[in-house]
């Protein structure tokens, strides 16, 4: 990671935790997790609370659908770290890698519920253009999404539009396929806290 403080500037107890996790898991602590330990009072603690509530709290969307949204936003942002992490997590949560691949490639032609396809279209537009018009949102409502569906999906996009940017600016190191798979298991078991 860059700058150097994000590689070396952690508290001793956090460095020990990173080493312990690497020893027991056989994988390095992902940079997305490590960065939340750097001066957590500035960003990491609040970010973890937010992300856990958005991704694991009450919502009309399932955990798998929210992970899929995270992967889709990351795909539109072309952020390789989060594409790997959340594609793996949504594949494990939904149990259908071929379907996840089809959705990320083109939600509108994938065999999914119309309100999910329309909501992903909103997130894609918002991520690529930084704005979305009312017609696209109206289409999602007409397809069966409730206002709560839309608000919760926008919250997922908020979280990953932040994390994707930090991943690029701080140069998060990509993981191996096994590393992403192991990380997905952790995220599904423990969430983002």
């Amino acid at each position: 990671m860059r700058p150097g403080i994000l590689e070396h500037g952690y508290r001793l107890r956090d460095k020990a935790l990173f080493r312990m996790i690497a020893t027991f898991s056989g994988q390095p602590m992902p940079d997305a997790a490590r960065v939340t330990f750097y001066r957590p009072g500035f960003y990491g603690a609040a970010a973890k609370r937010l992300t856990h509530q958005v991704m694991r709290g009450d919502s009309p969307w399932t955990v798998g659908e929210r992970e899929l949204m995270a992967a889709y936003v990351s795909t539109r942002n072309a952020n390789q770290f989060c594409i790997g992490a959340h594609t793996a997590t949504s594949c494990q949560a939904l149990g259908d890698p071929d379907l996840v691949s089809a959705i990320l490639d083109d939600p509108q032609s994938a065999p999914i519920a119309p309100h999910l396809a329309a909501t992903l279209r909103i997130l894609g537009t918002l991520t690529a253009r930084h704005e979305v018009d009312a017609e696209q949102v109206r289409a999602a409502l007409d397809a069966g999404a409730t206002p709560q569906h839309i608000r919760d999906a926008l919250a997922v996009a908020f979280c990953f539009n932040v994390t994707n940017r930090l991943a690029e600016a701080f140069a998060f190191e990509q993981l191996t396929s096994q590393g992403y798979a192991d990380g997905a298991k952790f995220l599904l078991r423990r969430g983002y806290r």
């Binding site: 860059r2 700058p3 150097g4 403080i5 994000l6 500037g9 750097y38 001066r39 009072g41 500035f42 960003y43 603690a45 609040a46 970010a47 609370r49 937010l50 509530q53 958005v54 942002n77 072309a78 952020n79 909103i122 918002l126 991520t127 930084h130 704005e131 979305v132 018009d133 009312a134 017609e135 696209q136 949102v137 109206r138 409502l141 007409d142 206002p147 839309i150 608000r151 926008l154 919250a155 996009a157 908020f158 979280c159 539009n161 932040v162 994707n164 940017r165 930090l166 690029e168 600016a169 701080f170 140069a171």
Partner: protein
């Protein structure tokens, strides 16, 4: 370096306050945190990075704009010129976080605006 109390956030798109338009408490918590938590970068500069407006010097403006609008293009050199301009790595960390959260907040707000407009047209 002396710690300061920061005030990023504040006015967002179309001059509206981020507090006025439906952020859930958990979003407010993150943004309030960036506003109030002691830090290394001066509060006006954190505010500017969050709002992507009035950032100086030019090297920092270029970096925060890339973080907000073209994050895949950020390079070691972009960070290096900001450090060469006299900023510390801790200041750089804070200002990048503010730029990233600010842009995501503007997008989130645009989505909520579109939802409100769609609900009006559906009535």
């Amino acid at each position: 370096m002396e710690a300061t109390t920061a005030v990023p956030g504040g006015q967002s798109r179309q001059g509206r306050s981020m507090d006025d338009d439906g952020f859930t408490p958990v979003h407010q918590d993150l943004i309030r945190h960036l506003r109030e938590v002691p830090g290394h970068a001066r509060p006006p500069l954190r505010h500017a990075a969050f709002a992507m407006s009035g950032v100086e010097p030019a090297s920092l403006a270029a970096l925060t704009e890339k973080v907000a609008l073209a994050p895949t293009t950020v390079t070691d050199g972009d960070l290096g010129v900001v450090l060469d301009a006299g900023f510390t790595e801790d200041q750089l960390f804070e200002l990048v976080v503010c730029a990233a959260v600010g842009q995501a907040a503007r997008q989130y707000e645009a989505g909520l605006d579109a939802l409100a407009a769609a609900q009006r047209t559906g009535r």
